[in-house]
């Protein structure tokens, strides 16, 4: 099934929460989903026999300067089709999105990484702690406004 068709069927099922379908050159077409609908949309995409997205390929974050985005790449091994979903988070101070860890277990570490790098919290995640940087690290390194610290535990960081 093509991404466009998936968008239409999802829109018919979930309504307003599925916001728009964006096609851009040199990029996978993606569906913009609202923050409150994403968990429901993921459950539908995994369980409906016409979708059967049984494999979460990737979950990552994007800093879009005025907002954050969480991107979901899904693939169906059984039906051999794929889809990309995006949730835009306009709250820069405390961005949060529902966790999809209970839909795909893969999301556990992906969400921890996104939390670590962007500071996006995932509500309902069982163990939302840093995964790459040390536990006592300050800040979220992939944010556009991140400043590299001069020292970490007495070690000079810049060259």
């Amino acid at each position: 099934m093509t991404a466009n068709k998936i968008y239409e069927k999802l829109k018919a099922e979930l309504g307003e929460g599925i916001q728009e379908f964006v096609e851009m050159p040199l990029s996978d077409p993606f569906i913009v989903v609202s923050r409150d609908t994403i968990l429901e949309a993921c459950l539908v995409l995994r369980d409906e026999p016409e979708f059967l997205f049984d494999y979460m390929v990737n979950l990552s974050g994007v800093d879009q300067k005025d907002s954050f985005a969480v991107v979901y790449h899904l693939y169906s091994i059984k039906l051999n089709h794929r889809v990309v979903m995006k949730v835009i988070l306009t709250d820069r101070e405390s961005p949060s999105v529902p966790s999809v860890e209970r839909v795909w277990k893969t999301a556990n570490w992906h969400e921890r990484e996104t939390f670590d790098m962007f500071g996006i919290t995932f509500d309902g995640h069982p163990n939302l702690i840093r995964i790459l940087t040390p536990y006592d690290w300050v800040g979220h390194p992939l944010r556009k406004d991140y400043k590299t610290p001069d020292f970490y535990k007495g070690l000079k960081v810049p060259y």
Partner: protein
């Protein structure tokens, strides 16, 4: 060094008496059997595995991998040293018994490599936390480059002054003592051991 030439020459079978210093003999033995800590960090460790395999055969230098730092003579920093790993490396290095050596392998361990500017998480050169004896450049270095470094390390070990080292340390102690006369006073009942 006549003694070493004689010991290292496999075709010399005439035996007899060899005259030399004890230091030469000890250094010869140490430089030809360096055991290293089996410890890999990043992509250089992949090259390092190739180095250990039969084609390049690191063991012909007398190098045997040890899984405990307490049994290792030198440590190879094979890859990117992140700030998180830096603490662990310091701890491993401190556990090694003297005399100990450090061989930094690849650009990352030497200077931060490709992360030198934007690597917020990378230590820019392992020599900021532990003293490095030999730097091997490359990203990652070819096994031949590593062998060059290994030969340099053997050269360094075989030229070491074992006995003069103690005299030098005693000199350093004396300098420290003259700088801070009060701090280095021994507690009552202790005797200072002269080297």
């Amino acid at each position: 060094m006549g003694l070493l030439d004689k010991l290292d020459n496999p075709y010399n079978t005439d035996g007899g008496i060899v005259l030399g210093t004890l230091e030469d003999l000890l250094n010869w033995g140490r430089s030809k059997s360096d055991w290293y800590l089996q410890f890999g960090l990043a992509c250089c460790a992949i090259e390092f595995m190739a180095l250990n395999a039969s084609h390049f055969d690191l063991m012909r230098f007398g190098c045997i991998p040890r899984t405990s730092p307490r049994q290792a003579d030198f440590i190879i920093i094979s890859g990117t040293v992140t700030l998180k790993m830096a603490e662990r490396i310091t701890r491993l290095y401190e556990q090694m018994a003297e005399p100990k050596y450090v061989l930094a392998m690849g650009s990352c361990a030497n200077s931060g490599g490709p992360y030198w500017e934007h690597g917020y998480h990378v230590l820019k050169g392992v020599d900021r936390i532990i003293p490095v004896d030999v730097y091997v450049p490359g990203c990652p270095p070819r096994p031949e480059a590593f062998f060059e470094g290994m030969v340099k390390l053997q050269e360094k070990i075989s030229k070491q002054k074992i006995f003069e080292k103690r005299a030098r340390l005693a000199e350093e102690d004396a300098v420290l003592k003259s700088d801070n006369p009060n701090e280095s006073e021994l507690p009552a009942g202790w005797e200072e051991v002269k080297h």
